[in-house]
Symmetry: C2
């Protein structure tokens, strides 16, 4: 009997074992992510410039490539106690159903009301906004998890919260809107007629169901034109990956406690916040040459930024009001096919993760949504948790890796991030249950047309 | 600093601390609940008679008023590890928001995919059905939590699951239906045209939105007329309260660990499964004269079985196909007003709880739904969890008790059951958010008309 057979089904760290600082992976990268550029000057943005958009403390975190550890303020640690430490689960039932010699673990971030890991960063960003004396914040949301998380955090700290929700999600998920309203947030479908950029996008693309890129443009415009407001973002940014490192730090502490070392670490990847957070401390060890791991980013085949995108400077938003980041991108006005369900619909990828991928420190794969929902259903029936479509991308890859282990007779240990629950995704599940779900993969010609609009830099 | 200030925000028992047997409160009752009667003979039902409807092992549990402890089979304990032990949470944030000297704890049963405590009994009932070699089970569901729980349990044990869902919930909650289908269950709106009783109810009450009582009749009819099927029920029955004792046993173990004794224990009450389960071990101590506690059952003012019902023999279902139970009842064809949101819509109350209430061992109060949703909103914004409307009845009473403690300057300890989450109740939340929710309390004349139909027994 190996030591791993004694691991309980769920590992909950005690509150006193919870991390007290976030880990900044960039500090251990020899080749740092490329600097964020001001599209007007073509030069790296200054803290002053970013300070018009983001809270001051978050600007510092965004631009700091050197500090490895950021202490977590007490107020944030208190809020974390509401829903953290989150459980690390040993997927005994799934292992048995697959008949695999692999040991599968998942870090489950879905048992809070936002339904996902997004709350980890929402709390931090709301706290810093409040500490700076702001009145409120604006943001965008796609699948709705980030908007819900932010509305919860704003209710707690007494901040106004204005959410631009990608129109197709707004229509498919009216209940998400009501959760946000229950927490006191205002929710507007994007593109709206409330902002200049919204009116422009509506005029150019009549009937568009929106994209994260559009919604970001609207939220940023609203923030910079409203006194006492700043913009906050739920993924992509380095500051968000910093806050999300809590996922990986807890997972690593729990595994270390039982002497378990993962061989493969898997996360779904939209903007990269969950994946970046989960892999952080493990990647740190790899960067410092202490240990080796395989990392796999899993993205939708309908929005394949890492596997089919260009590593280039691009705008973070469709409206081109945001700075430029060097990242794997499908082009700033790429919008996934309307048949794509759920989140993971951002056109780009976190700059840090893009750089790690470019250096060959991480793998990536794209999966089609019908195979993702098949994995979701199998997981629900064996492990009992109804996963979010986003999270199910990681499940798909974890199952595939476990089946590879079975074929090769290898007893590897797999860790994946189960970022959230699918309670608000039942329209998509219904399509799958009724055998009406289809796949769409963008053609090379479509992507080339999108790449042609990339800004010319350097 | 009192000892209670050192209690963590959440107490998770380790898996080895989990209860290994269910506790049967009836064993310690001097005056037992009145026997279940066969409506045809007017005599107590025999195990053989009940065996046509329920699994054999569950019949034994149902009729056993003497055995105090039932060991939990290994297969059930394994399944419990998926979602249990559930957390006991100290409501530090709510206490602070209320400015109360009271210490508030809640046992949170909502962090599993069924969204409620119902899974505790669903697993047990599915297990015994499988062990008996059955093909499948039938049941009814109102708010949808029980149907979801049962579909999860049936998927796990490989049983067919047929759910009759109260029509108004079926229409208000299409996503609940999809969760059940994702777990492989078939879901039919009730009253349907599939059963004799369903056709009869539809003919007599055209356009009815259904009731739990109707749906029970349909599910029972289907079970007794289909080879290899039995009927299972999510509340009311003594066997269900037995399985739900896991809630109270875990809560008591966690509180004992920190030397905390609750003064007041509060649960919402529809059929009584959550309340009966939560109070079980505490009531046991009260019945044995070891300790004293206040117990409060909280029910909707629109379906007030304990506070305004008759303590009499009545049918468990509208169609009068089920046996008779002595219980607090509003009459077997009482249907709550259509403006009543959520569950807690059963016309009667568990026989054990009815007897305890009749003996003055438990209090009861009825609350109106607008005040319930106000409590739900306050709780969501302070404690972070979006509660089910049902659970919010207990929150309402807990807040009221905490405010009483504040007014009286008393440092009492309050424990309440937070049975589930409200993710599938956003239609009701939307009404509340839009200030369109109203209250309806049945008139005395309405209740008298309903009581007139009670069967004449003894």
């Amino acid at each position: 009997m190996s030591k791993q057979d004694e691991v309980p089904y769920k590992i909950y760290l005690a509150e006193h074992e919870a991390p007290t600082a976030w880990y900044n992976m960039r500090a251990d990268m020899k080749q740092k992510p490329a600097p964020i550029l001001n599209p007007g000057t073509g030069k790296p943005v200054t803290p002053e410039e970013l300070g018009h958009v983001f809270c001051d403390e978050l600007v510092k975190q965004e631009l700091d490539n050197d500090t490895a550890w950021f202490p977590i303020p007490d107020e944030i640690r208190k809020f974390y106690r509401m829903f953290r430490p989150s459980p690390l689960v040993r997927a005994y039932f799934l292992e048995k159903a697959l008949g695999t010699p692999a040991k599968i673990y998942y870090k489950f971030e879905g048992s809070n009301t936002s339904g996902s890991h997004k709350l980890n960063s929402a709390v931090a960003q709301a706290y810093y906004a409040k500490a700076q004396g702001l009145k409120g914040v604006t943001t965008e949301t796609g699948a709705g998890q980030w908007g819900t998380a932010l509305s919860m955090a704003c209710a707690f700290f007494g901040l106004d919260c204005r959410v631009y929700m990608v129109k197709c999600s707004y229509e498919q998920k009216p209940f998400r809107r009501e959760v946000m309203r229950t927490y006191g947030a205002s929710v507007t479908p994007s593109p709206s007629m409330e902002t200049e950029i919204g009116r422009k996008i509506n005029a150019e693309h009549p009937g568009t169901t929106g994209s994260l890129g559009c919604a970001i443009s609207e939220a940023v415009e609203k923030a910079v034109t409203t006194e006492g407001y700043r913009y906050v973002l739920g993924s992509v940014l380095a500051q968000v990956l910093l806050h999300q490192s809590i996922i990986g730090l807890e997972a690593k502490t729990a595994m270390d406690k039982y002497g378990v070392k993962p061989d493969v670490i898997i996360g779904c990847a939209g903007g990269g916040s969950n994946l970046g957070g989960l892999i952080s401390p493990f990647m740190g060890e790899k960067l410092r040459g202490e240990k080796d791991y395989r990392f796999i980013a899993v993205e939708p085949a309908s929005c394949p930024s890492l596997t089919r995108g260009r590593y280039a400077y691009d705008f973070c938003d469709t409206g081109r009001v945001c700075p430029l980041q060097k990242m794997y991108t499908l082009g700033h006005d790429f919008i996934p096919s309307a048949n794509h369900a759920g989140g993971l619909r951002y056109h780009g990828m976190s700059a840090s993760l893009s750089e790690l991928y470019a250096q060959g420190l991480m793998e990536a794969r794209a999966v089609e949504q019908t195979s993702v929902f098949a994995a979701a259903q199998q997981f629900a029936r064996t492990e009992g948790i109804l996963p979010a479509p986003e999270s199910s991308h990681a499940i798909r890859a974890a199952i595939d890796e476990a089946l590879r282990c079975k074929a090769e007779g290898k007893e590897e240990t797999i860790l994946f991030g189960l970022t959230g629950t699918g309670y608000f995704d039942m329209v998509a599940y219904q399509k799958f249950n009724d055998h009406e779900m289809s796949d769409y993969v963008p053609t090379d010609a479509e992507l080339e047309a999108s790449f042609a609009k990339l800004p010319k830099i350097g």
